[in-house]
């Protein structure tokens, strides 16, 4: 167990080092969510009455900011595994595979690094949101929000690492990831309340871990609970999602990297 932790940390260390040295990516990845907040947040400001009809008193931009935080987390973490493909192509993976560390440690190290990076990106988005005047009545809540973003991203990075280990090419990876990412984001209350979705869509949304995460972050940011789902249930769903993804990702990753690339 100790060895697994040490090895996981080794891979984590390497991923974070790489991230730190590729600073240009940090800003580029912030552009899209910033556009979401500024453009969509203002474009849909006229929907305030709709939002208020389900009990949310603030402005639309306050409502959707938690959604954009999660959007950042989704895409940072689901794209994050792509370097697995580079690692396999350029030999780093083989180096790790012929060393005594376990395959699970490689997957987990990557996942933890991705989730930390994802949390950093999300915190920058919170900064942008505050800068443009989004309401955040209780700033201390940033701490649990970051905790939730890290957990959620850990689960989502599992998807990314699994897809990257299974895909033999960049094309396959991006195809699958784009197929998964957008629908998971859209089928959640990130942009509109669950109550406003048609019943069948709301039912699908309730099967989506993104939904529970958005509800948690929204409640912490705005103090308004929404959708009639208790915090405890959301937390249980989130934790279950993370545990399942950690197990699944380790298993799939180990199986796939043992096959010739």
């Amino acid at each position: 167990m100790n060895t697994l932790m040490y090895d996981t940390y080794t891979i984590f260390w390497r991923e974070i080092k790489r991230y730190k040295k590729s600073r240009s990516g940090v800003l580029i990845r912030l552009i899209q969510p910033a556009i979401w907040i500024i453009v969509i947040g203002n474009t849909f400001s006229g929907t305030q009455s709709l939002i208020q009809s389900v009990g949310f008193q603030g402005e639309y931009i306050d409502f959707m900011t938690p959604g954009v935080i999660i959007l950042t987390a989704i895409f940072t973490s689901i794209f994050g595994g792509v370097n697995t493909l580079w690692d396999r192509r350029y030999g780093f993976m083989n180096k790790a595979l012929i060393s005594p560390i376990s395959r699970s440690a490689i997957a987990l190290g990557k996942m933890f690094a991705i989730s930390l990076i994802s949390a950093l990106q999300a915190s920058l988005i919170i900064g942008i949101a505050l800068a443009i005047g989004v309401n955040f009545p209780n700033p201390i809540m940033i701490i649990p929000i970051m905790g939730i973003v890290i957990l959620f991203s850990l689960g989502f990075s599992g998807i990314s690492v699994m897809v990257a280990a299974t895909a033999k090419s960049q094309e396959t990876f991006w195809g699958v990831i784009n197929f998964l990412g957008m629908p998971l984001f859209m089928l959640s209350p990130a942009l509109f309340p669950l109550e406003l979705l048609p019943d069948w869509l709301a039912t699908i949304a309730k099967l989506n871990p993104v939904t529970y995460t958005v509800l948690l972050v929204r409640e912490m940011m705005t103090g308004v609970s929404e959708g009639g789902i208790p915090i405890l249930l959301s937390l249980v769903v989130l934790f279950a999602f993370v545990f399942v993804m950690i197990g699944l990702a380790s298993y799939v990753f180990t199986r796939e990297v043992n096959r010739p690339f």
């Binding site: 060895t3 040490y6 090895d7 080794t10 260390w13 390497r14 080092k17 790489r18 040295k21 590729s22 350029y90 030999g91 780093f92 083989n94 180096k95 790790a96 595979l97 012929i98 060393s99 005594p100 560390i101 010739p260």
Partner: protein
């Protein structure tokens, strides 16, 4: 389970076969490498060298047969095998984003070098490969030769019992290649490792290896020391380039009748004769050619090289396969790697 204690052989390969679908990459090979030996696997691209190394380093599972590293079976005890090996891949597997030292630190952690020893070990290998002054520069700024040296340093940081070098000097210029050879020899003496290397450069095998296995088409053609291989060739090699002629085949059969001619290889208009007494053979060649009215464009007499050894065992030269294509591919890959 067998234990590694006092294993005489660092590497034992028994009837090893690996096929990918219909393609048999490694065909029933057997060989043993003694502890402390530098063994070279020589063959053209696609001969099965890298596949063999990947099996020995636990990256691929053999289709059949057995391979033991320090007494541990690669199939049933991969973890113990991994604790005993270092592997420097054909591709440069250093991380451009990290500095030289950080690359080695990563390698040290991957191989569970005790914390207290890591710094000293890294200092030592940096010194050995003469990269101490560049250690804190990002690897993105290194030349190809420096990257390769760093990569090799990473492979021996944890002092493995067996070091695998897959084409250690491919794509490097001749000065850099010689420098790498120097380092390999130094490593071998300093750490007393068994080294298993693959190459398609004759000179490399000749310079470095105690013994050479020539592999072609997935099969081992011969295993011996470079010296013995050359000696077994007969003393001299006569290369002849002919102008085209109808009597070509007849000429060939007449040449075979000459005393001292042990073997003839034919490659289009180029003939290579292996003869134990070249100076007496040459006049006879001219007698036959003038009798048959065959024009000889050039003729040369040389001492045998490993090139000739290779030719005599495989029937073709090591460079006349698709190596040009592979080199271009390699080059393109390196360019992408740096991008």
């Amino acid at each position: 389970m067998r234990h590694a204690i006092n294993a005489l052989y660092s590497i034992e390969i028994k009837s090893l076969t690996k096929s990918f679908g219909d393609v048999i990459a490694v065909n029933n090979i057997s060989l043993s490498v003694e502890s402390g030996e530098i063994f070279g696997f020589l063959g053209p691209n696609g001969a099965g060298k890298s596949t063999t190394i990947m099996i020995l380093t636990t990256l691929l599972k053999p289709t059949s047969g057995q391979a033991l590293i320090s007494g541990f079976d690669v199939k049933t005890n991969p973890k113990q095998v991994r604790e005993n090996i270092g592997y420097v891949q054909q591709e440069l597997a250093v991380d451009d984003y990290l500095t030289g030292r950080e690359n080695l630190l990563l390698q040290a952690k991957l191989n569970h070098i005790p914390k207290g020893e890591i710094d000293k070990r890294i200092d030592d290998v940096l010194d050995l490969i003469e990269l101490s002054d560049k250690q804190d520069k990002s690897v993105g700024t290194y030349s190809g030769g420096m990257r390769k040296r760093l990569d090799i340093a990473g492979g021996l940081l944890h002092r493995p019992k067996v070091l695998f070098l897959d084409e250690p000097t491919v794509g490097l210029d001749i000065q850099t290649r010689r420098k790498i050879w120097k380092y390999i020899k130094k490593i071998h003496v300093e750490f007393d490792m068994t080294i298993f290397l693959t190459t398609h450069y004759m000179e490399e095998a000749d310079q470095l290896c105690d013994r050479i296995g020539i592999i072609d088409g997935g099969k081992i053609q011969v295993i011996d020391s470079p010296k013995n291989l050359k000696k077994a060739m007969g003393n001299e090699v006569i290369s002849i380039i002919l102008q085209e002629s109808e009597n070509h085949d007849y000429f060939l059969s007449e040449l075979k009748k000459i005393e001292f001619v042990n073997k003839i290889n034919e490659d289009g208009s180029k003939l290579t004769l292996f003869a134990s007494n070249g100076t007496e053979v040459i006049p006879k060649i001219f007698q036959i050619s003038s009798k048959l009215d065959i024009k000889i464009t050039s003729l040369s007499l040389t001492q045998p090289t490993l090139d000739d050894v290779f030719l005599s065992y495989t029937g073709h030269e090591i460079r006349d396969d698709d190596s040009g294509f592979n080199q271009r591919r390699e080059h393109a890959k390196m360019k992408r790697l740096r991008a």
